[in-house]
């Protein structure tokens, strides 16, 4: 276990100081900070535009970090031969791989937290979309003895629940896609692995909508209710197969709920978390099996 943690720490340090990581981070921070200017293009719902724009920036840049670093984290080690010294220590290959992957996951968590914090401060400065953190204030007031009680010099604000949950889903989604990129990088080149991961992400985002489109619909024709197939059976089977096999990334996109401050139910959150973790674990197990038998020449 210690070896995995050391590997994760080492991996995190390495990723944190990589150019690709902080380039994406800086870009995302610029976009989040610039969301205010984008929101000024509208007279109404400026807060919603800021939220939509910033969530998109946080999501896409974390996905990029997941894909591009996920496809290079082990691939580069093998290409540059820096893996030689590590794997010839008394360490199992799986332990090494877990360490590298956890380091990458930690880097994604780190970047998401930084981005969400900047997003929070932008909303705080603009005084848009934030909600008073009542439970916290109450607790503080109870804890403080008179005469200070009831005269807090400031009000604590937090992001609304769906926005916090969206941030959490972005982490799961990015770690998930990084597991896919890692898997592809073990069987093909880094560039192809990135392309495949982007394709999986894209298809995973639209597959549920496509599946909905090809579903048979009931229509009333001449007073009779009939089921109408909107696509031929072959196409429907292909779309359904893709929808079933490939991960459904649209599950992690709750930007509509976030933009309209609609709370997400506990069941929905748990389902998405379990789905994401199980799929990531499955991809990681396959990667681990491939890596264990791979000739590292």
């Amino acid at each position: 276990m210690e070896k995995i943690l050391y590997g994760a720490m080492y991996s995190f340090k390495e990723i944190k100081s990589s150019k690709i990581f902080y380039s994406f981070l800086i870009f995302a921070l610029i976009l989040i900070s610039g969301s205010y200017f984008v929101s000024q293009t509208s007279f109404i719902n400026q807060g919603r535009i800021m939220v939509d724009f910033s969530i998109f920036a946080i999501s896409i840049f974390n996905i990029f970090i997941g894909i591009f670093i996920g496809s290079s984290v082990v691939y580069d080690d093998i290409e540059k031969k820096s893996v030689f010294l590590a794997l010839t220590r008394p360490i199992r290959r799986t332990q090494y791989l877990i360490g590298r992957f956890l380091g990458l996951a930690a880097a994604i968590i780190f970047s998401t937290i930084i981005m969400m914090l900047i997003f929070y401060f932008v909303l705080l400065i603009m005084h848009k979309f934030i909600v008073p953190a009542m439970p916290v204030v109450k607790t503080v007031r109870h804890a403080i003895k008179p005469p200070l009680a009831g005269s807090m010099p400031f009000t604590l604000y937090s992001l609304p629940q769906p926005l916090i949950i969206q941030g959490f889903f972005i982490i799961i989604e990015s770690v998930f896609i990084s597991a896919a990129a890692l898997l592809f990088s073990l069987v093909t080149s880094k560039a192809l692995a990135s392309i495949f991961a982007i394709l999986v992400f894209f298809i995973g985002n639209v597959s549920s909508r496509m599946n909905d489109l090809i579903k048979p619909v009931r229509k009333v024709i001449n007073g009779k209710t009939v089921t109408v197939h909107q696509a031929n059976h072959t196409l429907a089977a292909i779309v359904h197969f893709i929808y079933t096999v490939l991960p459904n990334f649209s599950l992690f996109n709750i930007s509509s709920e976030a933009a309209y401050k609609i709370s997400v139910s506990g069941g929905g959150i748990s389902y998405r978390i379990i789905y994401g973790i199980c799929y990531t674990a499955l991809l990681f197990v396959i990667s681990s099996l491939i890596f264990a038998s791979k000739d590292i020449a």
């Binding site: 210690e2 070896k3 050391y6 590997g7 720490m9 080492y10 340090k13 390495e14 944190k16 100081s17 990589s18 580069d76 080690d77 540059k80 031969k81 820096s82 030689f84 010294l85 590590a86 794997l87 010839t88 220590r89 008394p90 360490i91 199992r92 038998s293 000739d295 590292i296 020449a297």
Partner: protein, 259 residues
């Protein structure tokens, strides 16, 4: 002790995945406390053999045991240090961070003094706070050496340890190997520089085209070399190779390579 038994390694090449042998039916015992030099021309299969020993590559046929454990088992590497050919390190990490990571992997929890000692013995102490990707080739090689001798391993495997080093670096590196030899470490190193053979090795193994063509003590090979030198009339190689042993090994590789 390291034991290679009928080891063959082939790689699949080309569109149809044709088999190409890198090592053929190699059987070799590397004895404890000895320095074994593994010589052969470029492409002979030396690095492939070493990578199989350290568990980076799996043999296609045959088996390799290190202290009784299969080479693919992580326990085989408990007392093993490896210095790869052209080592490299990830960007952005300082020398001291890298060495501390590897000491943690060994579960030796090396103290600051122990890490400093390893860095000093490899002659890299002055650069410990510099990021490793900014090191010169010699410095990178020294850092890798410091890592390979961390934890005082019983078995040391060096893949072309002297390649690319300047004369001063070569001399210092050889001194380190001599010190390890005095401490009765089992050392197995590959080289295609024949001049390294006599001064460093107790035993010499020669690999050509993936086949082991010689595996004897230096004294025995020297006798053969002396006899060969007397037989041989042509001294055209005297400029490049000065000793009968070097000339003998050169001719051996050349003839076996043609066959």
């Amino acid at each position: 002790m390291i034991e290679l038994k009928n080891v063959t390694k082939y790689f699949r090449v080309g569109f149809f995945g044709n088999k190409k042998n890198a090592v053929k039916d190699l059987s070799l015992n590397i004895e404890e406390g000895q320095v074994t030099g593994f010589f052969g021309p470029n492409g002979a299969g030396k690095s492939t053999t070493i990578k199989m020993i350290v568990g980076l590559i799996n043999p296609s046929v045959g088996g390799i045991k290190i202290n009784g454990y299969d080479a693919s088992d992580y326990r085989a590497r408990l007392k093993l240090g490896y210095l790869p050919e052209s080592p490299s390190f990830p960007r952005g990490l300082k020398g001291i961070e890298i060495i501390s990571y590897y000491s943690n992997l060994l579960n030796i929890r090396a103290s600051k003094d122990a890490i400093d000692e390893a860095l000093k013995s490899a002659g890299i102490f002055h650069a410990k706070n510099i990021q490793a990707h900014k090191y010169s080739k010699g410095m990178t090689q020294r850092l890798a050496l410091a890592i390979s001798i961390l934890g005082d391993p019983e078995i040391l495997i060096f893949d072309e340890p002297l390649s690319g080093l300047d004369p001063i670096g070569r001399k210092e590196f050889k001194d380190i190997i001599f010190k390890l030899k005095e401490r009765k470490k089992t050392i197995f190193f590959s080289s295609h520089v024949l001049a390294d053979s006599k001064e460093l090795c107790d035993r010499i193994a020669v690999l050509v085209n993936g086949r082991l063509i010689k595996n004897k003590d230096v004294a025995e090979i020297e006798k053969e070399a002396e006899a060969y030198s007397e037989e041989r009339k042509d001294n055209s190689l005297t400029g490049e190779y000065n000793t009968p042993l070097e000339i003998y090994l050169y001719d051996l590789m050349l003839k076996s390579g043609k066959n």
